[in-house]
Amino acid sequence: MAKTVKLLQGNEACAQGAVYAGCRFFAGYPITPSSEIAEILAASLPRVGGRFIQMEDELASIAAIIGASLAGKKSMTATSGPGFSLMQENIGFACITEIPVVIVNVMRGGPSTGMPTAPGQGDIMQAKWGTQGDHPAVTMAPDSVGEFFTETIRAFNAAEKLRTPVIVLTDEIVAHTREKVEIPEPGEIPVEDRIKPSVGPADYKPYDTKFGDVPPMANFGDGYRFHVTGLVHAEDGFPTNEPDIIESQERRIIRKVEEAVPWLSKNEEFMLGDAEVALVAVGSTARAAKMAAEEAREKGVRAGVFRPVTLWPFPHERLKELAGSVKRIIVAEMNLGQIVGEVERSVCGSVEVTCLNQVNGESISPRSLCSAMVGEVQP
């Protein structure tokens, strides 16, 4: 059967991916360069029995989607850096209460109002450490329109399977570029739903570890009465001051994500087989890197690209292996050095790691990446 091929804008693909994944509630606040996601879902959600609401700010938007998810609807919001900062407190709330939601952050140049219509990658660490306290972080980082579609689905699946908020982190270039996308048929990409309780209301505990590190989740309105709080809580959901319980619950919400790494982690490895130089980049920067690697090879430098698609948890293990086969690693990012620290931690000084940074609102060009590679390996 012929595939449905469409020319879609990144934000459009994200919105369609969300609906494909079963998203039925969106709350958001307008912000460039993410607003098209809200506009499209405002039109499309009612057609599939879902609801859209424009809230008064980003604080309210994230709160509303957590509430809707707790009442059983797969929920999403979309924003950019300034709004993402406003959402941080409640991202932590979703982490500790283990309520699945998806937050899309289309990065623009920062800090502050920064460059609303220009790309940046300054929120790499905000996605990991933006909310206070120790908490799990799951982040997908698509680099193309097609991948913005599929990674949004993967984000919903991971959120549901892990009962945790998942961030889709991309940049203005991916969000506003139009590309050819093959739209999958319903059922072609698996869609996951949260695990429902197998016990009756009388025996239900919202954080019952008897069922593993990801406890089954009841929804409000399904006949289960339980308490949800952002205070540290025991298995029954009520606040506790017991150090042993606090410690074990806190470690569990981190561990459930760490243990998911085998299926959660995803990287793209581009011409790395025989590479002597590896470029590490995410999002649209990785696309410049791939073009640069091809050019470098034409100039006699065996270059390749390593791109984390799952940005958090960071692929430390794979990079450690890679350090054994390449001579140099160059980290390219549209910020002044965020991913590079993670790469350095991965390789522990076993190969030289340098970085190429740019924060002028323009994407890093393949040419400058190519000369960094060609220049560096020449004796």
Binding site: E56, L59, A64, G67, A68, F93, H227
Partner: protein, 273 residues
């Protein structure tokens, strides 16, 4: 026969953390009597709160309960109601929670007219953090952050709600328990966004710092009684006669289609139920 609260209380999580003499328990019990008299199904009743003394209430009552972040109870409740319009959703919030950090959500919830009930537990002070002044602390009053008296002026939550478009606005006090039952009952039954402001007394963190006025919690309760003027009477009085007093009762009620109803009409969907 006296009312049996245990059906609606999570007795294993009592005693509550409220101080002796605190009036929050009076409001909680009023709410439970309302639930009972309206025959609400506990599985289909959601109680949402933010942060503060009053916001600990959901932990003690046996419904679907959600204790959220400071100021954000209303948007959480909005998400729940939109996801499952058939649920009865009640928000309990202190004066700081509802009117300071959550003030923006408050006015927009009024404007939007989603079918939620907000009970504001207004004791004019941040109790949980140790008695700092709030947006409803009267001018000149002492608190832990107004050691020379409060230079600010207080919000009138009822007037604010009306101006912002709420379709049901009521005020009562912790002294007027029968009126409280009636107004909370009407508010829960009202279709659209309803606000009940309950004026309360916090002796531990407020009365104690204003000993020139209050020697005890009872003094504070009698003060609530003294200053309350039924709305029917108040509206006949000259503004001068109302100085230092407040209207109580049903301040405003109007029928207006709610957000969900309007959405469903506009997208041509047949309303469920």
């Amino acid at each position: 026969m006296s009312f049996d609260y245990t059906k609606y209380l999570r007795t294993e999580h009592l005693p509550h953390l409220w101080c002796p003499g605190c009036t929050h328990g009076i409001v909680m019990k009023s709410f439970l009597r309302v639930v009972d008299s309206l025959g609400l199904n506990q599985d289909e009743t959601v109680v949402v709160s933010g942060i503060g003394c009053a916001s600990r209430l959901p932990g003690y009552v046996d419904f679907c309960t959600l204790h959220t972040t400071h100021g954000r109870a209303l948007p959480f409740a909005t998400g729940i109601k939109l996801a499952r319009p058939e649920l009865t959703v009640v928000v309990v919030s202190g004066d700081g929670d509802a009117l300071a950090i959550g003030g923006n959500h408050f006015i927009h919830a009024c404007r939007r007219n989603i079918d939620l009930t907000l009970i504001i537990f207004n004791n004019s002070v941040y109790g949980m953090t140790g008695g700092q002044y709030s947006p409803t602390t009267d001018h000149g009053m002492f608190s832990s952050t107004t050691p020379y008296g409060n230079p600010d002026h207080a919000f009138d939550a009822g007037a604010l709600a009306m101006a912002a478009g709420a379709t049901f606005v009521a005020r009562t006090t912790a002294y007027h328990v029968r009126q409280m039952d009636k107004l909370i009952g009407q508010a829960v039954q009202h279709s659209g966004f309803s606000v009940v402001e309950v004026l309360e007394a916090c002796y531990t963190n407020f009365g104690r710092r204003n000993k020139q006025l209050f020697k005890s919690n009872m003094d504070m309760l009698m003060d609530l009684k003294k200053k309350a003027v039924p709305v029917e009477k108040a509206r006949k009085l000259a503004p001068k006669e109302m100085e230092g007093k407040y209207e109580t009762g049903l301040l405003y009620e109007v029928g207006r289609p709610g957000y969900i109803e309007c959405c469903d009409d506009m997208i041509g969907r047949k309303q469920e139920g």
